[in-house]
């Protein structure tokens, strides 16, 4: 049976020497998930804010849809992106399947509804306080969005973190569109799945500990930057 001491000694092994394979896998995990989250924020933040302050027909339906998409199973999304990017699919000519770019696309689509939905709720709540003064001053929508996003930056940072956490922890989508190819598309979560399938449970768990440690460091960095942003 796998014991905690086995896991701990594996963790110590992984962290003792800078294993180039591990660094590569961690690096790719961060590259894919950070890129996906940043892109999702670039679109999700203004999209969520617009949904909150700009009335248009079908807005309720849009909100409902985005909130529902937060619960999209990664494996289903992975399959959809796979069908799109497959060599026999509509976007096959791009030759993107089994590349980090494909993984970024999949995670972007997973993170976007989370960022947009959380932004929408946050902005809607604070919009109530701004609504009148802004209307009386005739603030155009663009600057209203800018102001609201900036004033809510701390809450929205948490929305971005929620999106990043979803991206870095999911395996269902990246294993389908990335293929878990060694030195090309292997990330932390797919490596954990691989080691589990080899029956190397201590190594799989140790990789999990490393992944959570990285997530902890990123959260700590964001947390400490909150003071400066406030």
């Amino acid at each position: 049976m796998t014991t905690f001491s086995q896991v701990l000694s594996e963790v110590a092994m992984l962290l003792s020497g800078p294993d180039p394979d591990l660094i590569e896998i961690v690096g790719l995990s961060l590259r894919v998930s950070v890129t996906a989250t940043v892109l999702a924020c670039l679109i999700g933040l203004p999209l969520g804010a617009l949904l909150a302050i700009r009335p248009f027909p079908g807005r309720g339906l849009c909100t409902l849809l985005i909130n529902t998409l937060m619960g999209m199973p990664p494996v289903v999304l992975g399959l959809m992106v796979y069908l799109l990017l497959s060599r026999s699919g509509p976007m096959g000519f791009l030759q993107l399947l089994y590349t980090p770019t494909a993984m970024i696309i999949a995670q972007f689509a997973l993170v976007l509804p989370i960022v947009a939905a959380l932004t929408r709720q946050q902005v809607e709540d604070s919009w109530k306080d701004y609504c009148d003064p802004m209307h009386s001053l005739c603030v155009p929508t663009t600057s209203a969005v800018q102001t609201l996003l900036w004033d809510n930056r701390l809450s929205l940072l948490t929305a971005a973190l929620a999106g990043f956490s979803r991206a870095i922890s999911e395996v269902g989508a990246v294993i389908i569109v990335g293929g878990n190819i060694d030195h090309l598309t292997r990330v932390m979560t797919t490596a954990i799945v691989l080691e589990t399938s080899k029956g190397d449970l201590p190594l799989a768990l140790a990789l999990g500990v490393v992944l959570m440690t990285i997530a902890l460091i990123i959260n700590a960095l964001v947390f400490s930057s909150k003071g400066k942003l406030a």
Partner: protein, 274 residues
């Protein structure tokens, strides 16, 4: 402020977006493969040699045989390396593959708990063993995923004139997952399961499980290699794919397969006919 943020973002993203991710490169082969060859470390042993001799990089997607065939049917492969002879021939006859070559073989085994509740370790044939498992209603874990191993298992039950699927969810349990996940379950449930020898020998979470049935002729496990047909899949990388197939069935590839050992045990026996 916003300009600054955008600027720093573009700097952050530029290496990601311009990175040479392209698989269409002439010097790469996309290999859809069964898992046993990957999990046992065979590719880690063979591919660096092939890459240094030819400059061609092989990207391995290791999934079950059923999934590998489906992906290759969608043209998401240049070469297919699997172990389900009939499905392979069908793949070729449907025009998706150009030619199928025997590559190597090993054998399937039944692993089970040390206590051997169905008392099959001393039986001679696999049919007797499966009948005993069914009679004693001992837990048997099936892949249930249309993989090469699953197809073999179904044919073995047929030979034993037993249909275990009517007991699905009781003593016959279908995981629908890969070999490794299935072995983890078998160990956890004190159950029997069918596995290829290579996966078993490289599997680390064996608990007190052991091989209970081996050596029956019908447990033969043949691996085949197929080049995907560019007539069906115009985007496939046929030149590099052909080079890889040729190398695998060549004397160089075959003798390397023969030499590959894990814990001093040979896992695959080359048998390509040139």
């Amino acid at each position: 402020m916003i300009k600054n943020i955008l600027l720093s973002l573009s700097v952050l993203l530029s290496p990601c977006l311009t990175h040479a991710d392209n698989l269409a490169d002439d010097k790469t082969v996309l290999l859809q493969s069964t898992t046993s060859t990957a999990n046992s470390g065979l590719y880690d042993y063979l591919l660096p040699v092939f890459e240094s001799q030819t400059g061609i990089q092989v990207n391995v997607v290791a999934v079950g045989t059923g999934q590998a065939i489906k992906n290759a049917t969608n043209c998401d492969a240049d070469v297919l390396l699997i172990h389900a002879r009939e499905s392979e021939l069908e793949f070729v006859s449907q025009g998706y593959g150009i030619e199928r070559h025997d590559l190597m073989y090993n054998d399937f085994i039944i692993v089970g708990p040390q206590s051997d509740p169905a008392n099959i370790a001393n039986l001679n044939t696999i049919s007797d063993a499966l009948t005993a498992i069914a009679d004693t209603q001992s837990i048997f874990i099936s892949r249930g995923d249309d993989s090469g191993t699953h197809k073999k298992e179904v044919s073995l039950w047929n030979n034993a004139d037993t249909d275990p699927t009517i007991h699905s969810g009781k003593w016959y349990r279908e995981t629908g997952s890969g070999m490794g996940a299935t072995l983890n379950l078998a160990v956890g449930m004190n159950a029997y399961t069918l596995t290829d020898r290579a996966t078993w020998l490289s599997f680390k979470n064996r608990g007190s499980h052991r091989i209970v049935i081996e050596g029956d002729e019908s447990l033969f496990n043949q691996y085949g290699i197929i080049l995907v047909n560019p007539a069906k899949c115009p985007r496939s990388n046929v030149e590099s794919g052909q080079a890889f197939v040729n190398w695998m069935i060549s004397e160089t590839g075959q003798s390397l397969i023969e030499q590959y050992k894990l814990n001093a045990q040979q896992l695959f026996y080359p048998n390509a006919s040139q």
